[in-house]
């Protein structure tokens, strides 16, 4: 490998790692792209024939009641503190799980990273977070992706 491509590769890696390195613990910015899934891709999975992941909404209970991804379960801050751990206690640690919030812009979300870290600490190795850039309305519901209650 010549020097220039190597430097470009290093610069790319640093540009991806830098935000996470400076992000505060608990910030969504600590969640690297490797653990994220885009709404388009989750929607594709939901419409496919393969097994669906366990989907957990970890944000506002009021917003969950208003609208959520079909089949999603609520485990936001309003839930009892040990509810999430109890829900996943008997699941294989390789269970596919998708977490989402969508309360506010990704970089301002106070809920998604703590939930991800909690599942990591419990030993789960196949957890993704739904990358909602602005909010659940704009990045999921208004794109026509499935919701319940139906609009």
């Amino acid at each position: 490998m010549t020097l220039r491509p190597a430097l470009l590769a290093l610069a790319f890696l640093l540009s991806v790692a830098a935000p996470a390195a400076h992000a505060q613990s608990g910030s969504a910015l600590t969640l690297t792209p490797a653990v994220q899934i885009e709404p388009l891709d989750l929607n594709t999975i939901l419409h496919g024939s393969a097994a669906k992941p366990l989907i957990l909404q970890v944000g506002s209970k009021v917003l969950f009641a208003e609208s959520h991804i079909p089949g999603a379960e609520f485990f936001g801050p309003a839930a009892p503190s040990d509810a999430l751990a109890q829900r996943v206690a008997k699941l294989p640690r390789t269970t596919a799980i998708v977490l989402y919030c969508g309360c506010c812009p990704w970089e301002r979300c106070p809920n998604i990273a703590p939930a991800f870290q909690k599942l990591q600490a419990l030993g789960f190795t196949n957890v993704k977070v739904l990358h909602i850039a602005q909010n659940f309305g704009q990045d999921w519901a208004q794109k026509g992706y499935p919701v319940e209650p139906a609009h």
Partner: protein, 158 residues
């Protein structure tokens, strides 16, 4: 009818008319009963927010300023908290110095207002009770203030 007039009429017909703001009744945290339709004649800034929403808390001090500055001209700010319960909202009150009613929202009110699926969401309602703007996310506050001033300049319904 001259061609220009016909074109203008056709264009005007394409512009959707503002829709009436859905009416609702709630009791504010200070015990004041609030009914939106009773505020007809005033300009309403209806702000959906929550204590866990950083951008929401950043813009609310400006709403407090506007309520103070434009209240005599007919501006009424209403804050609708989408928190799961009132406890954190009451805890925030000493910091925010709200001079406008704070109501507790819920899923029903969110759906009534077109789906509040991310915060903040701010509506501007004119003196005739019609929705004139829906703003999602952190707002361009100077632009919002300009829109408020324009609505305040509109005459009250007879």
């Amino acid at each position: 009818m001259p061609h220009l007039s016909r074109s203008l009429l056709f264009f005007l017909l394409l512009i959707p008319a503002p829709k009436p703001a859905p009416d609702f009744s709630r009791t504010a945290l200070d015990g004041t009963p609030i009914r939106l339709s009773a505020l007809r004649g005033q300009v309403i800034l209806l702000n959906f927010w929550a204590t866990w929403c950083g951008p929401c808390q950043e813009e609310m001090p400006r709403f407090v300023q506007w309520q103070q500055a434009y209240g005599s001209q007919g501006l009424r700010v209403l804050g609708v908290s989408m928190d799961d319960d009132a406890t954190p909202v009451r805890a925030l009150a000493p910091k925010m110095h709200w001079n406008y009613p704070i109501l507790m929202g819920d899923a029903r009110l969110g759906r009534l207002y077109g789906g509040v699926l991310g915060l903040p969401v701010t509506y501007l309602i004119d003196r005739r009770g019609r929705i004139r703007a829906r703003l999602e996310g952190a707002t361009d506050l100077p632009a919002l203030e300009a829109r408020i001033r324009a609505l305040l300049a509109e005459p009250a319904p007879k």
